[in-house]
């Protein structure tokens, strides 16, 4: 019998075929190997992003196993089902940074898409190839996309493929702001925008820069919606909706850092938490495997792959506390109007709100756009969150949400800077009509405090506060938040440490507790870190799990944690009244 042994090492394809968070790049491996690879894959759910270019033969015909077996999506679903995996498809409705040419077939990749500074988007895939993004504002691209999704929808229908399909809106974080790869400032975009403006303004009307900026926002939004709508209409009932995904490390600055090999774990991990705070799915598929290890890998698995992402795909309300699984612990909800203009005027940065929240409470807050507020108004859970509003953002709809929330025992902090005169008057009228006592105090700025049952409304003058130093801003926020007596255990000496709180209701076998809070701690630094937590009387350490390079010392009223470099640990606390 001839025995053949392989001497050439088989390269690990963990990067190229399984790039992260259960994604499967089916085009990067032979169809004959799909069964083995899917069987070996530990997860239950496989996320399959659809590669438009891979299925494109010419502009008019598409390959779904006519020529290449790797295009046979039906076979992929059948094999996955046979090996006990569930397939979820992601269909990019914007340029996709993980695909050559951003996903466009080569014959449509004509005009480079440019960011606001006019620089072409540059990306590096896990094989160190350069990926360029091309403009989605070219009418030929839009037509080509329509043809593809129509063919795709027909193929799914004809073959009885009823796996969930999500539209994938791809973006990145830049200086804390989420940007879409659809955003473009190239000539292709300018031509399309000019055509749009013709339909919007009068023949001889000259727009001010602010008006043009507002129209640009409207145009970008409508283009995004057009791509998503075409996908939805072509795919039919299997289309679940559109997900915003932030690809870690893909801004221009991070691209340049990656070029020189200087992207750190902290560069990636900060974006994970930014994304979670904004209800955007973080994705590590562009992060090379040599960086995806240790603490970063644990953060991605704990906080994204095994918790946040499955919850989003199940369409569960991840914010709902009381379920069996952990939801993010959210003390604060900050509402922002996203219209291309408001961010120029309202800026919590100027009064150091973000610095304060991150220092005292980590990333345990949510930023909610005015769009989301409109869509989910009746579903937004009040819980015990403190709701922040900026006067510049408050329109009639937001104003009525504020009043409704207050009347329903909600807690509101309103920066009245930029609040319109009309709404200011409405507020005064509301107080008078309801015989509400308005306490006025001056502490670094003028503050009004109004109480109605359990509801609280604090109104302060942000403009006046802005003129003070940062130390005064910290003092202001400390004093204001202290008045809410939040049930929370701060972590001492946590600088440099990544941490995230989650919460769930107590289960029947946890009768002593009303709530279980989970604290995940990660040390991405190269120093040993000693943390201390002084426990409130209604907090008890319940479990210590997933210990890695850490020692935990518990005493009745305190916990000391020593995290070695790359150390991590999860602590569950029982909370009772």
């Amino acid at each position: 019998m001839l025995v053949v042994s392989l001497t050439t090492p088989v390269p690990r394809d963990i990067d190229s075929v399984f790039p992260g968070e259960n994604w499967f790049f089916y085009w990067k491996t032979a169809a004959s190997l799909w069964r083995i690879k899917l069987q070996e894959f530990p997860g239950m759910r496989i996320i399959v992003p659809l590669n438009w270019s891979f299925h494109s033969e010419t502009g008019d015909s598409f390959d779904f196993d006519e020529h290449r077996p790797e295009t046979n999506l039906l076979k992929l679903v059948e094999i996955a089902t046979e090996v006990g995996k569930k397939v979820v498809f992601f269909l990019p409705v914007t340029p996709a940074p993980f695909l050559p040419n951003g996903g466009l077939p080569h014959f449509l990749a004509r005009g480079l898409a440019l960011n606001k500074e006019g620089m072409a988007y540059g990306l590096i895939d896990t094989d160190d190839n350069l990926i360029k993004i091309y403009s989605f504002f070219d009418p030929r691209v839009f037509e080509g996309f329509n043809r593809f999704v129509k063919s795709l929808g027909k193929y799914f229908l004809d073959n009885g493929i009823n796996s969930d399909i999500w539209g994938l809106s791809c973006g990145f974080f830049e200086n804390g702001s989420y940007k879409s790869f659809l955003e473009d400032s190239s000539n292709v975009y300018e031509q399309a925008f000019s055509r749009f403006l013709v339909t919007k303004k009068g023949k001889d009307q000259v727009l001010s820069p602010l008006e043009e900026k507002q129209y640009a926002f409207e145009f970008n939004k409508s283009m995004h919606e057009l791509y998503a709508t075409n996908a939805r209409e072509s795919i039919g009932p299997s289309f679940e909706g559109v997900l915003d995904v932030a690809f870690l490390g893909t801004s221009t600055e991070k691209f340049l850092k990656r070029l020189y090999g200087t992207l750190s774990t902290r560069d990636y991990s900060e974006e994970i938490y930014e994304a979670l705070a904004k209800d955007i799915i973080p994705s590590s598929v562009m992060v090379p495997s040599r960086s995806k290890k240790g603490v970063l890998l644990r953060e991605l698995n704990d906080l994204v792959a095994n918790s946040y992402l499955p919850a989003r795909l199940e369409n569960t309300s991840y914010d709902q506390v009381g379920g069996a699984s952990f939801a993010p612990l959210c003390f604060f909800k900050v509402y922002e109007k996203i219209d291309g203009l408001s961010s120029m005027f309202q800026n919590w940065d100027h009064i150091h709100l973000w610095d304060f929240l991150r220092f005292r409470f980590g990333w345990n807050y949510k930023i909610i756009s005015s769009e989301k507020l409109k869509l989910q108004n009746d579903k937004i859970s009040l819980n015990d969150n403190i709701h922040f509003f900026h006067g510049h953002d408050v329109d009639r709809e937001m104003f009525s949400f504020i009043i409704r929330t207050f009347l329903n025992a909600g807690k509101i902090i309103l920066n009245r800077s930029g609040l319109s005169e009309d709404l200011n008057k409405k507020l005064e009228t509301f107080f008078l009509e309801n015989n509400l006592t308005v306490e006025k105090v001056n502490f670094l700025t003028s503050i009004q405090n109004v109480i109605l049952g359990d509801g609280r409304l604090i109104i302060f003058d942000g403009e006046e506060l802005m003129s003070k130093e940062k130390a005064s801003h910290d003092e202001f926020w400390n004093k204001i938040i202290e008045t809410f007596a939040l049930v929370h255990v701060p972590i001492e000496n946590a600088e440099g440490i990544d941490y995230y709180w989650r919460t769930r209701g107590a289960q029947s076998n946890e009768l002593n507790f009303e709530e279980i809070r989970r604290l995940s701690l990660y040390n991405p630094t190269s120093y040993r870190k000693k943390l201390k937590m002084n426990l409130m009387k209604n907090f008890v350490v319940y479990k210590v799990i997933d210990e890695m390079n850490v020692s935990v010392h518990t005493a009745p009223n305190e916990v000391e944690i020593e995290l070695d470099p790359e150390g991590s640990v999860v602590l569950d606390f029982g909370v009772f009244s």
Binding site: L112, L114, E117, G118, M119, A120, G122, I124, D128, N129, L130, K132, S208, P209, L210, E212, K213, T252, E253, L256, K257, R258, L259, Y260, G261, T262, M344
Partner: protein, 136 residues
């Protein structure tokens, strides 16, 4: 100022108007600075710019405005001297985009950023190197 030795700098600049709502008009701005290790914090460059432009806001994202290409070249030379770098490779954004479009691999792009820009040499440093070699 950083104590780490800087061999070379790469600067990417753009001619544009980042503040149309303020009706300022277009000018040249330095968007990114890199050295042989990667992206450089712009602190030193911003301080240098402020020495001749007292109204410049150090919190600004970019360095500028520069009225002309000559101005940005002069600044680049001064920056080279200040940071004791041998040379600076200056690329406009269109040049940067052109290189990106025609390059397939990250390592090639990395090399091209240095070699294909407009090179301004720090003559003083070059001469010192020569003399150092002579008297070694």
């Amino acid at each position: 100022m950083s104590d780490l030795k800087i061999d070379y700098l790469i600067g990417v600049y753009q001619y544009f108007n980042p503040f149309p709502e303020e009706e300022r008009g277009s000018a040249y701005y330095l968007l990114y600075l890199l050295d042989q290790r990667g992206v450089l914090e712009k602190e030193d460059a911003k301080n240098l710019f402020k020495e001749n432009n007292p109204d410049y806001d150090l919190k600004s994202k970019w360095i500028g405005p520069f009225e002309s290409l000559d101005n940005i070249n002069q600044f680049a030379f001064l920056l080279c001297e200040k940071l004791d770098a041998q040379k600076i490779s200056l690329l406009s954004v269109p040049e940067y985009n052109g290189l990106l479009e025609q390059t397939l691999h990250a390592s090639d792009f990395h090399r091209d950023l240095l070699e294909k820009g407009n090179i301004i040499e720090n003559i003083d440093k070059k001469d010192k190197s020569f003399f150092q070699k002579l008297f070694r």
